[in-house]
């Protein structure tokens, strides 16, 4: 069974949600990894959770990216280790250069907190292999800076390498401006790196795994990761 590590930065606030899902719903071994440490505790998968690391000072994720634990995470990721960054975790991955692009303030300038639908564009990745083609996922978002931006060359690379995993869509998978909550280029909600071992996504799958919370669609993402160790 895959062993997970959830990084805790000062200001992380979705760390316990991620821990709960992996431990209580998936019965996996999980450890918290404090930002000042550098030991990944033999984790097979690292989760960079949501929150407001270092108060979001300067730019979201910009200071967390230099914490001691991140040196180990970057080394781990560059060797092919599996890393999932959720919301602020995605912003940290961008700042660390593990994924391309930046997050701008939401086009509306508002913090957006609601359920959205995600179309899975690529179901062949280790993060999406349990999602059936054509099905959308209902997953909550909660962010003020989720407006994904990058230059045209990088965007074309993302498209050509099937690196765009999730796009904001309607319930039946229609990707349109109308369903774009933050102004992201091409409705991008989540991308992977070229090698496919790092995923950054703004929506919160850890907030929709327990039936009590209204949707269990987030489980498909965690199941995909766990399956990738079995298959």
């Amino acid at each position: 069974m895959a062993k997970f590590g959830v990084v805790v930065f000062p200001g992380s606030n979705c760390d316990h949600d991620a821990y709960y899902v992996l431990k209580k719903i998936f019965n996996c071994e999980v450890n918290f990894l404090w930002h000042k440490e550098s030991d990944l505790k033999e984790s097979d998968v690292i989760i960079l959770p949501g929150g407001f690391s270092y108060g979001d000072y300067l730019r979201s994720g910009s200071i967390a990216r230099f914490s001691p634990i991140m040196n180990s995470v970057i080394e781990f990721a560059n060797k092919g280790g599996k890393v999932l960054g959720i919301c602020n975790g995605f912003q940290i991955l961008l700042e660390a250069g593990l994924l391309p692009g930046v997050m701008l303030k939401n086009k509306s300038l508002k913090f957006v907190c609601k359920d959205v639908y995600l179309k899975t564009v690529n179901t062949n990745s280790i993060f999406s292999n349990s999602i059936s083609n054509g099905n959308t996922l209902k997953v909550p978002i909660a962010h003020g800076e989720g407006n994904y931006f990058t230059d045209n060359d990088t965007l074309n690379e993302l498209i050509n390498n099937d690196q765009i995993l999730f796009k904001y869509s309607s319930k039946d998978g229609n990707v349109d401006d109308e369903f774009n909550p933050n102004g992201s280029l091409l409705n991008i909600a989540g991308i992977i790196n070229k090698d496919g071992n790092i995923l950054g996504m703004m929506p919160h799958p850890e907030r929709c795994c327990d039936p009590l919370l209204g949707s269990t669609d987030g489980k498909k993402i965690f199941s995909s990761i766990i399956n990738s160790f079995i298959n």
């Binding site: 200071i63 930046v102 701008l104 300038l109 931006f149 990058t150 230059d151």
Partner: protein, 87 residues
């Protein structure tokens, strides 16, 4: 020792919705000639290095690796000699 003042600007190609929103305020104030409002950052600090070339290297490292994100921001700075008793 040097005192450094850094200005960080968004690259011209990057939309600045905050600037646009503030400009709406200018319109409401009746300031109809205000255009192209864009938000940046101003940061100041000191560098405890006496050699100017080395001090500049330190500043550029700080700016390019942490203070500004080169994907969306440009930075410029001024460097002036400074002794702690001045302020």
């Amino acid at each position: 020792m040097y005192k450094v003042k850094v200005t960080i600007k968004r690259r011209p190609s990057i939309l600045d919705p905050q600037g646009t929103a503030i400009e709406k305020g200018a319109e409401n104030l009746g300031l109809t000639n205000i255009k192209n409002t864009r938000i940046g950052k101003f940061i100041e600090f000191t560098v405890d290095i006496n050699d100017k070339t080395k001090a500049k290297q330190e500043v550029e490292n700080y700016c390019s690796k942490l203070l500004a994100n080169p994907i969306m921001e440009d930075f410029e700075y001024t460097l002036s000699e400074w002794t702690p008793s001045e302020e």
